[in-house]
Symmetry: C5
């Protein structure tokens, strides 16, 4: 999975019926220092992530593993809201300290 930050939302009314009821988030990928990358995904959301929260994004067929999503044309999914990222030199991210 990739570390990402919720940047916004995407709305589409003319879409394949298989996407009905899926909330779509624009998530920007982060590097291992927490800095934003160019890469992003428009991902489905099963965890209720909010704006600016750090999340885990699964891609490919992994995005359809949630019950009921097997037939949806999803290739990216927010599967978790991140609490902490810890590296050797200390804490890279802690949701409690996050005033961003």
């Amino acid at each position: 999975m990739q570390l990402a930050k919720v940047l916004g939302t995407v709305v589409s009314t003319s879409k394949t019926p298989n996407l009905t009821g899926v909330k779509l988030l624009l998530v920007q990928f982060l590097d291992t220092k927490g800095q934003p990358l160019e890469r992003y995904e428009v991902a489905g959301d099963v965890v209720g992530a909010g704006l600016n929260e750090w999340v885990l994004v699964a891609r490919g067929s992994a995005a359809r593993k949630e019950r009921g999503n097997g037939d949806r044309p999803l290739d990216a999914m927010v599967v978790g809201i991140i609490d902490t990222v810890n590296v050797a030199s200390g804490s890279l991210y802690n949701k409690r300290d996050d005033g961003r």
Copy 2:
């Protein structure tokens, strides 16, 4: 999925029979500011997208989730026409304002 803009159409008559009847669009990927990227796909279309419209493109096995497409050699599909993209700082895109 990726944000993309419909750039044109691709026609192929000498093709695998499994692609018969699939409309193929040339879609250019956009970044999170709405600017065109180098990357693109030739994607199938199930939503009737028109030239210059902003669309959502699913890749990989997700592209074959539409009923009847399971056996087609498709790895990219336009699955929705985008109405709005909203980010923290406001509206990135609104189809109603789109005179491009």
Copy 3:
């Protein structure tokens, strides 16, 4: 799929038996202006594409959708010979005019 041009052929005799009888083409990817990119694939061919022809290349599990290819270790396949690519500003490519 990606736009590509047939650059040459690849021959391998010491290979997995599952690849027996598959013609392998070296195809170079093109950008949305028709210029060659660094990226390429060695792809199977089911449409009889010739040298320098513009083709459509499907990647991933899509490459094994042709009948009889389900068990082959193919991750790229030429699935169509391109006749025309049309964009807003006119014709990007037309096979009839192609003397390249």
Copy 4:
């Protein structure tokens, strides 16, 4: 698979139930000289890898091949701890010599 080094750990409590009990490692990809790349994954771990160890990371549907992981939304998995990497010019890496 890719060569990678364990950089840290990621904790998520608000996540899809399918990820419950999966230990998530932040692994940074290495190049063929053993130098760190920008690319990384947040990967599941089935081998008990420790901080700074060199590991093998499988991506895509391969990440769900371990028994019990078939329904988890995993797209990256640590599948082995590396003992040695040997190239023509000698040893690129040997776990015994690794004081890093």
Copy 5:
């Protein structure tokens, strides 16, 4: 598939049991001129490729198509040893001439 050159071998004893008995090669990808790229894979080998040989590497689910590999967490596989690569301007590679 990608053109690649066998650079070395990777040994891992602490690994998922599903990888037992799989020989792992470090293979460096080549461009369409035969020059080495930064990209590589640690790939399984079913054809007995030797050091410095040019090989074909399949990625993704294609890597598990060989009988007995369906449940292994493999995302890259050496599926053929290359004899020749021929392009419009002549021979790019011929194993017989290869003293490299």
